[in-house]
């Protein structure tokens, strides 16, 4: 069924279609409409999940962890400060191997206080052991949330699905909402174990020896690596069943390109326009969208960029003291190549600052003109 929907509502529809059984959240802009929509669905009887309003995001995550330990399919949504407040519990979720799916609507972190889209909130949680997927638009968000349950429950690790605050969360686009039967066939009812057995009580989050600890961490690491095959396979089945797929990365016009823009999230749609403009002017420009950030698709990235001479990574985030975080990750992934492209990082669109097709075009052209990359990222759009 085709509908005009915001990205937030698209996620709510996905949660409904996934037959989620437990939702705990606390309101925060720009995420709040997700929880509100779910509440409305629950009230109207369109969704049967238990809704739990908590007093903070930390508690929301703690509640989701506990619920998931009882074997139910669990969802929460947050943004920015809410995600930051959850931080401690994010480690508890991944360490306890609970397959929670969380939508994070990317919003800048204070201070100064602001609201616009910025990936610094979720990228600050890079090392919490969660999978992270960055979606380009509402449709992809809907499809990714559904896929995320299949992935999370198979590998027993939590998944964070990120969309851009306002650009994706609030912009209304025509979306295709799959039929419930089709999603039911793709995503069967949850079968994860109920780990609360009152007849055989045990304690989770317990203390272990250093050797045990290292073994558990190594196992999590290996499972996250294994998840890549699962992500690819899940996407393939989804494509067969529903008709849409995304891949962990998406190369556009890469073959023979002189310069490739690397983007993530909503900015990718703009980049698609920019490379068309560039190509219309005779520049051989390509695009690489990175969707999966954890696990990091280093093989896909290498395959896509091994023959490209120049790469411009545009980050809507900044790691102060280093550079854009996607740029860092990309450089590290390509380091093992014998022939590496020249990589220049750009910082653009922090806090939802507009990144126009012209700006991306200029970024590509500037990169083409470079003989050597600069040591530091280039800040774009700062007056």
């Amino acid at each position: 069924m085709r509908q005009l929907l915001s990205g937030n509502y698209a996620i709510a529809e996905a949660v409904r279609l996934a037959r989620v059984q437990f939702v705990a959240a606390y309101p925060i802009t720009p995420q709040t409409p997700i929880y509100e929509k779910l509440s409305e669905m629950e009230n109207e009887g369109r969704m049967t999940a238990m809704m739990m309003r908590t007093e903070s995001e930390h508690s929301a995550m703690a509640a989701c962890i506990s619920a998931s330990l009882t074997g139910v399919r669990t969802f929460t949504a947050t943004a920015s400060q809410g995600l930051a407040l959850m931080h401690e519990m994010l480690h508890f979720a991944s360490g306890n191997r609970v397959p929670i799916v969380m939508a994070n609507v990317n919003r800048v972190l204070a201070v100064p206080w602001a609201f616009g889209s910025d990936q610094s909130d979720s990228l600050s949680q890079r090392d919490t052991g969660w999978m992270q997927f960055y979606c380009e638009d509402g449709q992809e968000a809907l499809d990714t949330v559904i896929q995320a349950y299949k992935i999370a429950e198979a590998i027993m690790l939590p998944v964070m699905v990120c969309i851009d605050g306002f650009f994706t969360s609030h912009f209304i686009e025509p979306l295709e909402i799959p039929d419930q039967e089709i999603i039911d066939s793709f995503l069967p009812p949850v079968t994860i174990t109920n780990r609360f057995d009152i007849h055989n009580p045990a304690y989770v989050s317990n203390v272990v020896s250093p050797a045990q600890f290292m073994a558990y961490r190594q196992r999590s690491f290996e499972d996250m690596e294994k998840a890549k095959d699962l992500i690819r396979e899940t996407d393939r089945i989804y494509q067969q069943t529903v008709g849409r797929g995304y891949g962990m990365v998406e190369p556009v016009e890469i073959n023979g390109a002189d310069v490739v823009l690397v983007t993530s999230g909503a900015m990718t749609s703009t980049a698609r326009v920019a490379i068309e403009m560039l190509r219309a002017k005779g520049h051989r420009a390509g695009l690489l969208k990175i969707k999966a950030f954890r696990p990091f698709p280093w093989q896909e990235v290498r395959d896509a960029l091994k023959s490209v001479p120049r790469v411009a990574v545009v980050d809507r985030n900044i790691s102060i003291g280093k550079e854009g975080i996607f740029c860092q990750e990309l450089k590290a992934a390509l380091y093992a190549l014998k022939q590496r492209p020249m990589i220049q990082g750009y910082i653009a669109g922090l806090c939802g600052d507009d990144v126009s097709p012209e700006m991306l075009e200029e970024i590509a052209l500037k990169t083409l003109r470079m003989d050597e990359p600069e040591n530091l990222p280039v800040w774009v759009g700062v007056k």
Partner: protein, 579 residues
């Protein structure tokens, strides 16, 4: 894809985490140490009011009264007439208003039951002690000594015991039945009181005290000081203490309509109010200094003025005026204050040409008292011009071994509480003397805070003192967030003012049950654990345990020494200490 085998990817435990003794890594541990409340440290008698309030808050008025009676045998008296330094120091004063502590003491005395069978001490010491004078100092000394196991006999020159409490303070402020009840308890505990035995020519000191191993002299100050003006012996001129004594003996005294009382202390106030009740309808008090130097309490001044009594400050008598051998007026001077004297009080001096005359029927002089202590000359002791017996104020000891003195006749402040305190101190001093113990050392280990008072508790029971006598609970260490604001309940007047000034009936009422309950809940119980459970509930490591009904324990193996319990405690009962 199959789910990974949970057993291998996430740990669970079926044994207790108690094997991790994380508390052993912390160098700090909370310790429960009950402390002194500021009201107690301010009380000359050292009454443990916070603990009495805590008992009362559990509904145990008798237990509360028993706590008060450890230090003070006269709670019904002090609950009415004390100048209540406790309330000036009440921590609650900095929060909303001080608790009505004096009203509480009166309530306990009026409504609590004294269980004499529980209080009766064993008379296990062979020494006997004579107490001369049955005022607050003598009664207090006798009471504490008998509780310590000594035999005590009080010699009183007047027909009834009580001293100034009986013959000085008028009925409307301290009903005789209240005093008689409390003296009755003291007798019941084993103190012998012999009245009508005046020490001096009839009964020489040495003869009377011969069978006793120690003596405590507390004869008070019953002689009035003179103005030094001509005419002080005229009819119509009275001396304050004598006037009050005659009132208290039930004599019918004629004062006429116009009465002037000279003086600024309690005696002056009592005289003026009594004069108002025996026919004076133009009564005024002359005081030569200003309000801030006036020894009478502000609340008493307010009552006086309500009863239509004028207070003329910065006014002094110049001469008494007579007509045909009868007092008719008093010529006065307006005064100004000059430099402070050695005691820090500014000296008044007359304003030139400020003379004015007040027509009077009676003048009552209440400017201070002398003690009638001539009998100590038998011991070779010199007294000063006011009759004060020389003592070491720290120990009440006179220069004669085995003879101690307290109360007004030994130069103590002329308040009831200070007299009771000096009797209590005398009891400790006499006990130390008889047992050959060093007084100062014995006092120090019983001393409350750094103040003048001390606790006898360690001498009276096997448990000893359950609190740290040296630490006073400080407001800034108490968690005040748990206390709601609430208005103080005062003792109300028994009569409308117009009626009150005609009556010798008690002028203020006791608190009602609900007023008392409100004050009991207002009291912070500083330094006293009330088992409020806040520490128990707030401990993030569940390391505080409840021990029976009486207190809390600490699981030191798990306490990380965070100090949350210390900060949360509303009453500063918990300290964080190095483990």
């Amino acid at each position: 894809m199959n789910h990974p085998d949970l057993e291998h990817i996430v740990p669970v435990s079926q044994i207790s985490t108690e094997i991790f003794k994380t508390g052993l890594w912390s160098p700090h541990k909370p310790t429960y140490i009950e402390k002194i409340s500021p009201c107690r440290s301010a009380c000359p008698i050292g009454i443990d009011m916070a603990r009495a309030f805590a008992q009362a808050s559990k509904g145990n008025l008798d237990g509360a009264l028993q706590i008060v009676r450890r230090d003070n045998p006269l709670p019904g008296v002090c609950g009415r007439v004390c100048y209540h330094p406790c309330e000036w120091n009440c921590n609650r004063k900095h929060f909303d208003e001080a608790v009505n502590i004096r009203g509480f003491e009166r309530y306990l005395a009026d409504h609590g039951q004294v269980h004499l069978e529980e209080e009766t001490p064993p008379q296990n010491k062979k020494e006997r002690i004579a107490v001369i004078g049955s005022g607050p100092a003598g009664l207090s000394a006798a009471y504490q000594l008998v509780r310590l196991g000594y035999g005590v006999t009080i010699f009183e020159s007047l027909p009834e015991p009580g001293g100034m409490l009986r013959y000085g303070i008028p009925e409307y402020r301290l009903p005789k039945k209240v005093l008689r009840k409390e003296i009755g308890y003291i007798r019941h505990l084993g103190v012998e009181i012999k009245t009508g035995v005046g020490i001096g020519q009839e009964h020489p000191f040495k003869e009377i005290t011969k069978p006793f191993q120690a003596v405590f002299i507390a004869v008070g100050s019953h002689g009035g000081q003179k103005l030094g003006l001509e005419g002080e012996n005229w009819s119509g001129v009275m001396e304050g203490v004598q006037f009050l004594r005659r009132i208290n003996l039930g004599e019918k005294i004629k004062v006429g309509r116009r009465v002037v009382v000279i003086g600024g202390g309690n005696t002056a106030i009592d005289c003026a109010r009594a004069a108002r009740r025996v026919g004076g309808n133009q009564v005024s008090i002359l005081y030569r200094r200003s309000w801030s130097e006036m020894p009478a309490l502000p609340e008493d001044r307010a009552v006086v003025q309500k009863e239509g009594i004028q207070i003329e400050i910065l006014t002094a008598p110049k001469q008494l005026i007579s007509e045909k051998g009868r007092l008719v007026g008093i010529e006065c001077l307006r005064m100004e204050l000059g430099e402070a004297d050695q005691q820090g009080r500014p000296q008044p001096f007359p304003k030139d040409g400020s003379e004015f005359t007040i027509p009077v029927d009676t003048v009552i002089i209440a400017i201070g008292q002398n003690s009638e202590t001539g009998f100590v000359k038998e011991l070779g002791m010199e007294v000063n011009r006011k009759g004060m017996i020389p003592i070491d104020p720290e120990s009440t000891a006179t220069p004669t071994a085995g003879v101690f003195a307290g109360g007004d006749c030994a130069g103590n402040r002329a308040f009831v509480a200070d007299a009771v305190a000096s009797g209590k101190l005398g009891a400790l001093a006499i006990s130390c003397y008889l047992q050959g113990k060093e007084f100062k050392q014995e006092f120090r280990c019983r001393q409350i805070g750094a103040g003048p008072s001390f606790s006898f508790l360690a001498d009276l029971g096997p448990e000893g003192e359950p609190i740290d006598l040296k630490k006073v609970a400080a407001l800034d260490k108490m968690n005040l967030l748990v206390f709601p604001y609430r208005t103080r309940r005062n003792n109300s007047f028994s009569f409308r003012v117009e009626e009150g000034r005609k009556s010798f009936g008690e002028s203020t009422k006791g608190l009602t049950r609900s007023e008392m309950d409100s004050e009991i809940s207002r009291c912070f119980k500083c330094g006293t654990c009330t088992r409020c459970d806040l520490c128990f509930l707030i401990c993030p490591d569940l390391s505080i345990t409840k021990v029976g009904e009486s207190g809390y324990g600490l699981k030191a193996d798990y306490c990380k020494g965070c100090g949350m319990c210390v900060s949360a405690c509303p009453r500063q009962v918990i300290d964080l200490e190095d483990a």
